[in-house]
Amino acid sequence: MATKRILVVDNESYIQEVAKLCLETVAGWDVLLASSGQDCLHQAEAEQPDAILLDVMMPDMDGMATFQKLQENPATQPIPVILLTAKIQSSDRRRYAEIGTIAAIAKPFDPLKLAGQVAAALGWTLGT
């Protein structure tokens, strides 16, 4: 089975680095990085990752707008999206579910559990 590829989208480079290291080290997945919503749309369409781990609060195009664009593009619409966000109150969680995201993981995340949370949300088994 091919190694899973995850696209991590965050305008904070340190968070990109930490998340990439966590997912690669713990789960062995390939991690792609995008630093903005626009970058995400391009890479998603071009790279067709197995899942997208998407930050919500980003300048210019935030995570919600980015998700909307992904849904509107048939090439990216099937890609499951998991939000990685500091905006994680219950009202936010309801909103995220309503628009069709798979799950939302709160920042700060536990580096050793992050991969497990993503796998659980997607129905994956770690190691794949």
Binding site: N11, E12, S13, Y14, I15, E17, V18, A19, L21, C22, T25, V26, S35, M57, M58, P59, A86, K87, K107, P108, F109, D110, P111, L112, L114
Partner: protein, 592 residues
Amino acid sequence: MTRLIPQKLTAGFAIAIAVITANAWISYRNFSQINDTLAFLFSLGLLTILYYLVRHDISARQQTQVTLQDRENHLREREERLRLALDAAQMGIWDWNTLTNHIVWSNEHERLFGLAPGTFDGTYATFNACIHPDDRESITQAVNHVREKKTDYSHEYRVVWADGSIHWIEGRGKLYSNGSGEVVRILGTVKDINVRKQTEEALQTEKRNLELRVAERTAELLQINQHLQHELDERQKIQADLQISQAQFAGILNIAEDAIISIDSQQQITLFNQGAEKIFGYPAQAVMGQPLDLLLPSRFIQAHRQHVTEFKGSPVQARRMGERREIYGRRKNGSEFPAEASISKLNVGQETVFTVFLQDITERKQIDRMKDEFVSVVSHELRTPLTSIHGSLGMLASGLLKPDSDQGNRMLQIAVDSTDRLVRLINDILDIERIESGRVKMEKEFCQADDLITEALDTVQALADKAGVTLSVASVPLQIWTDPDQIVQTLTNLISNAIKFSPHGNTVWLTVQRQPDRILFTVKDQGRGIPADKLDSIFERFQQVDSSDSRNHEGTGLGLAICRSIVQQHDGEIWVESALGQGSTFYFTIPL
């Protein structure tokens, strides 16, 4: 004259006898037969005359006798008439001969004194015995008075009959005196005045009763008057209180920012205060008597009417409106606004008056939204470095990474940088919160502007050197009244920003100028500039041109917000002029 004639005739008759006798004697002694005959004839003539005179005198006497009899009869008749009249008037007559002290009473008098006819013995003692003991002295005084003053007598007194009954009598009398002025007789009447006295007593009693009733009524009236006066005072007091209350109510109505609207049972507007005019945009006179629907979005009209009707029937007197849903008002211009309202009801007779207190919460909602956004932003800003710290240190702590490996070192660097960022952020948040809440007390003093600039330059010089940026200062000696630490912080923030966004080899200019009533500080760079759409918000919190600036330029997104707060605390102004790619110039002023 006629009555004197018989007496004169009698005298004449005697004289005539004497003359005749004398002539006869003379004739007999002195004359002869002839002379005797003449004498005889003369005598005979005289006798004839005498006879005639005597006859005439007798006739006159007889005539007088008849006249006297007539007069006596006439007098008796008059007396009888008088007696009848007195009897008819039930008046008794008394006749007191004061010389003999004998008193004569008529039968009616005796009857009035309770005596049988003819039984009065004519003595004053008997009269006195009939008098009520309490009145005897007054009668004696009255009698003495009239006898002394020669005036008519009039007195009222009581007599006591043998059966013990008491009768009121009015006695009147007239005094008669003899030629020497001595009172010889008192003639008078008595009259029963019992009925009059009883009437008078009854009247007196009635008068007393009347006076008593008048007094009682007067007392009642006084009491009622006092009561009314008390009520009047109370009403006046209530009136005064009411006027004060109305004035207060009117004052409250006028100064209230909220809309205060009253409606009647038909939900027609009866009160519309100035606050309502301001919120809804209608003048009061335009909505008075109009249905409340005018102020509601059409989609809420039916539901609102239903709610008011339900409230009318509910036992509660007041309740908050829109507890289950948001409510909206409609302005004159048709725009809608969110509102918060409560409603109360007051039953006035058969009528129920509803009063609605309504507040336009558009601004509050905006503020709430801004607060939520701010909390959300702060939360994000705090969680971002925390995420990096937690993640990097977590990986190191897991043993999955060797601390001395490149990855391990990178994670350590991320943790350190993120920790610095977090510390700066927390410090700035605390700073701005303290400044804006006024908890940072400004400690103003006279300072030299040059000294402040020097201190700020000392702080940022290392940063400039590292960035390869030259700092150029142009100032004039100026003394200003300010808090030096805060102005140095402002200058430091602005110069730091200018250095961070200036390419290597560029210059940052700092100038100080004196203006008529203020000092103008200017910090100019040749950096990337600020987009036009960011110029208005650049001084707001967390409104960096690029959020990655927080990481790349060691900013927190609060530096300019802190500058603005400090300048505003000094009653100064701060602004920026910039164009993308052409650098930025920040200005701030401090009043002299």
